[in-house]
């Protein structure tokens, strides 16, 4: 008999709100978190909009110092991704009422996280004097010392948020970071659930953190033609499943969940939000940037999640779509839902909260699973905003523009990524009787 996995805490830093209730108010009100980029002058970039977290100060959420100070006095402000993770984790641990308890020693951490954002001014300061039209004179570059760069580069490692969370909560169990692009945090949650099922731990901190709104990232994705260029109408730029969608909008944030073995949670009187019942992961093995035309990996990930949960698609009540707002994803995802769910695809409401949050890349899956958790709690579905003109290739019920009251027990959360990574998670409303 499998050990069961409860979600007993969550915390979030997102472009539509910081903290569970602000986030949920934003999503159910259909508020867009997308705006003109405010942190720097983006007027030189082809894309000038993003979903930025606003009004965030680490000290409002935790007493962890927002700067790292090395033994020799080098002071580095932690990158945004790490700060978001620290804040979201503090909220999640508090929400689960596990703060300060000695409960965390043998816990696991599994995060999906990207690299920290580059400090372009620092990098440019080092490299510009050594560079010319033919490249960089490495002899000159290597000549100086760059202790600040060295420490900051080390703190940009993908694993920095997880390692700093381990230090914060004294976690000495398995601490892992995966980096499977847009599927990373969903994959991390699935893998963390496996650890609880298999008895590796009773408690896990999981989810993801990422910030890809810096010039480097916006430029890189814009050059791949992946982003919406609706610079003049930011709030309307992310429009999954709409006929006039033209790409995704980069976002940022962190979503952290406390997963707990069901009996462990019940023993201490915790009230689970929901139960993670299924996880599926499959690869397209097709192209690095394009989804398989028949969405074979996505279809199989969904099927595997249902098999894992031993749940019938007819019992599904809601799908939180990957729904990036690219022409290709939304069509392929629709096709995957048809393949995997059969007739239930037409009767199950589906929404993309990326229409409001933008695409937080490695953090997206965790932010979306938190949306699913709150939808199950309140029996309300967040909408897909900006869905104005139906696309004949996207022929399902996408909960357009307005939140919807809906009685349901089982939800699916999809996360698909560059490189053909596909992850599906199935979650069930907490049932008191089934302890």
């Amino acid at each position: 008999m499998k050990r069961r996995v409860a979600i007993t805490g969550a915390g979030i830093v997102s472009p539509v709100g910081i903290g569970l209730e602000a986030f949920w108010r934003g999503l159910t009100a259909g508020v867009s978190g997308v705006a003109r980029i405010s942190r720097y002058d983006a007027s030189g970039l082809p894309v000038r909009i993003a979903a930025e977290v606003r009004g965030f100060r680490l000290e409002d959420y935790t007493d962890v110092c927002p700067a790292f100070v090395s033994e020799d006095g080098v002071r580095i402000t932690l990158d945004r991704r790490t700060q978001y993770a620290l804040a979201a984790a503090e909220m999640a641990v508090g929400d689960a009422q596990l703060a300060g308890a000695g409960a965390w020693r043998d816990a696991s951490i599994y995060l999906g996280a990207g690299e920290g954002d580059n400090d372009l001014a620092l990098l440019s300061g080092m490299m510009t004097p050594c560079s010319g039209p033919n490249g960089c004179d490495t002899t000159q570059l290597l000549r100086g010392t760059a202790r600040r760069f060295a420490v900051r580069d080390q703190l940009m490692e993908p694993t920095a948020p997880a390692s700093l969370l381990a230090a914060r909560y004294g976690i000495r169990g398995e601490v892992t970071t995966c980096l499977t692009a847009c599927a990373a945090s969903a994959q991390a949650i699935g893998e963390a659930a496996r650890r609880i099922q298999e008895g590796e731990c009773d408690l896990a901190l999981t989810g993801g953190a990422h910030s890809m709104t810096a010039p480097f990232d916006v430029l890189g994705f814009a050059m791949l033609s992946a982003l919406s260029s609706r610079n003049d109408a930011p709030a309307r730029a992310s429009r999954p499943f709409d006929r006039h969608r033209d790409g995704f909008v980069l976002g940022e944030g962190a979503g952290i969940l406390v997963l707990e073995e069901w009996a462990h949670a019940r023993r201490r009187g915790a009230r689970p939000y929901a139960e993670i019942v299924g996880y599926g992961s499959a690869n397209d093995a097709y192209r690095v940037t394009d989804m398989h035309p028949d969405a074979r990996g996505a279809t199989r990930a969904i099927q595997l999640a249902f098999d894992d949960a031993d749940v019938d698609p007819r019992d599904l009540g809601y799908v939180n779509a990957h729904g990036t707002s690219t022409v290709e994803n939304d069509r392929a995802e629709t096709s995957a839902l048809h393949h995997a769910l059969g007739d239930s695809a037409r009767t199950t409401p589906i929404s993309s909260t990326k229409s409001m949050t933008g695409h937080a890349v490695a953090a997206a899956g965790a932010m979306e699973l938190i949306a699913v958790t709150l939808a199950l709690r309140d029996q309300v579905l967040p909408p897909t905003i900006n869905l104005e003109t139906p696309d004949p290739d996207c022929d399902l019920d996408y909960v357009p523009n307005r939140a919807r009251a809906h009685a349901f027990d089982v939800a699916l959360s999809n996360s698909f990524g560059f490189g053909g990574q596909n992850v599906a998670l199935l979650v069930r409303r907490a049932q008191e009787t089934s302890a």
């Binding site: 690299e115 390692s163 692009a181 010039p215 074979r296």
Partner: protein, 430 residues
């Protein structure tokens, strides 16, 4: 005994390393004590230190079967991984073996990717011509961007190393990319064994890849104080794990991939079994990003849990491939962990391949796994080079490779971020 519900065996090996670009060359270099350290070829260093690194030599992507069209989209770490995965797949005789694509997985540990300094140097230069010396993001966007290869971002997306290899081998099963620094490959191999053990895949290519012999990574490690910079010695003598004179690691690069397979699947297709994966565990020091716990707590815990789960007694371990990188605090923590995990009387032979390979970061524990599997099959343990004055009284293998019957080999992994892991490999017996 094994900790996995289904027995998991190793049926293929592939490497690209500073001491050989195939398993045969790699293994004979380890046995003969040939170092991979040499003057840096990838970029001019002028008079700066260090002038040496452990680079992969003579690697031609074309000979690894890399599609020319795709090369421009692949960073070096993806290219090395592609070559190691292809070699492992051939060694396991996977092509044409009828493995179900949906039951074939790919899990890699990868390193962080720094910017290509020539490409970004051109962009920063163009921006500075337009707007002056101080960084200006508007000028960077307007004038710098045209200096970049349009698909540059694809070379910087870490999971594309596994993606390119998965496409070539049609691996549609479970896939993951793990980025836990120097422990990443051990995590990838351990997690792959679990996935096969629980029945979610039949065959997984697992390992690690890293290509950090770059100007920016060199600066990073040098100015963190971890990189060896001494110029008074031959490059081959600089990496000295567990030695009093350890003065930093030699920066290395490479990729190692093992084919893991459910035993029943390997038997059914008549595959040659190199060894069995008997156990795995991971742990963390909980002490931040820069320094390990002095007592090596996480490595001790990973080793103990790994052996306990596999029901292997301390005395039954014949050799440990130890993760000492030639950086004093990490060497000492590793030695402390080995001493406490095994106790004096049970300590197995210990060797550190980083003395020859340099530190290949996210690839390091995959290369150690390949070496461990070879040591089991070949009954020989490579020596730790440059170990003259050990920092601890432990049974280090020094001077020359040693003949020994090896039934159980342990691979230890340890690095920054508090990460540690251990993998137990065992000679296959029916």
């Amino acid at each position: 005994m094994t900790m996995f519900r289904r027995r998991v065996v190793v049926t293929g090996l592939g490497v690209v390393s500073p001491i050989g670009n195939d398993v045969t060359a790699f293994w004979s270099s380890l046995l003969d004590g040939r170092s991979g350290a040499a003057p840096i070829a990838a970029f001019p260093v002028g008079g700066a230190a260090p002038a040496y690194a452990a680079e992969v030599k003579g690697f031609t992507p074309e000979s690894a079967g890399l599609p020319r069209k795709r090369l421009k989209m692949m960073g070096r770490q993806a290219q090395l991984a592609f070559a190691a995965a292809s070699a492992a797949s051939l060694d396991a005789a996977l092509p044409g073996a009828g493995v179900l694509a949906t039951r074939l997985g790919m899990l890699l540990g990868v390193g962080m990717l720094n910017a290509d300094v020539d490409e970004f140097g051109r962009a920063f230069h163009a921006a500075s011509v337009a707007a002056g010396a101080d960084f200006d993001e508007v000028a960077f966007g307007r004038s710098g961007a045209p200096a970049l290869f349009p698909l540059w971002l694809l070379r910087h997306i870490p999971n594309l190393a596994a993606a390119h290899a998965a496409i070539a081998l049609d691996a549609q099963g479970p896939s993951n990319t793990i980025a836990t620094g120097c422990v990443a490959a051990a995590n990838a191999i351990g997690e792959a064994a679990r996935i096969i053990g629980r029945g979610e895949a039949d065959v997984i290519l697992a390992g690690g890849t890293d290509a950090r012999v770059s100007p920016l990574a060199t600066i990073r490690y040098r100015d963190l104080g971890w990189l060896a910079t001494r110029e008074d010695a031959e490059p081959a003598t600089v990496s000295a794990p567990f030695d009093e004179a350890a003065a930093g690691f030699v920066n290395g690069e490479g990729a190692g991939v093992v084919v893991l397979e459910a035993l029943e699947h390997a038997r059914a297709r008549g595959a040659h079994v190199h060894a069995e994966v008997a156990g795995y565990a991971a742990a963390n020091d909980a002490c931040g990003m820069l320094t390990p716990d002095r007592a090596g707590a996480a490595l001790h815990q990973a080793i103990s849990r790994c052996l306990d789960r596999a029901d292997i007694s301390r005395g039954a371990v014949d050799v440990v491939f130890a993760p000492a990188p030639s950086v004093a605090p990490f060497d000492r923590a590793t030695a402390a962990a080995l001493a406490s995990a095994f106790g004096g009387s049970h300590a197995p032979a210990i060797t550190a391949t980083r003395s020859l390979l340099g530190h290949t970061h996210a690839a390091s524990s995959a290369l150690d796994c390949v070496a461990a599997v070879k040591s089991i099959g070949d009954s020989r343990i490579p020596a730790t080079a440059n170990l003259r004055r050990p920092i601890a009284t432990l049974p280090f293998v020094t001077d020359a490779a040693r003949h020994a019957a090896i039934r159980t080999a342990l691979v230890g992994a340890y690095g920054f971020g508090g990460h540690a892991a251990a993998l137990a490999l065992r000679g296959y017996d029916q």
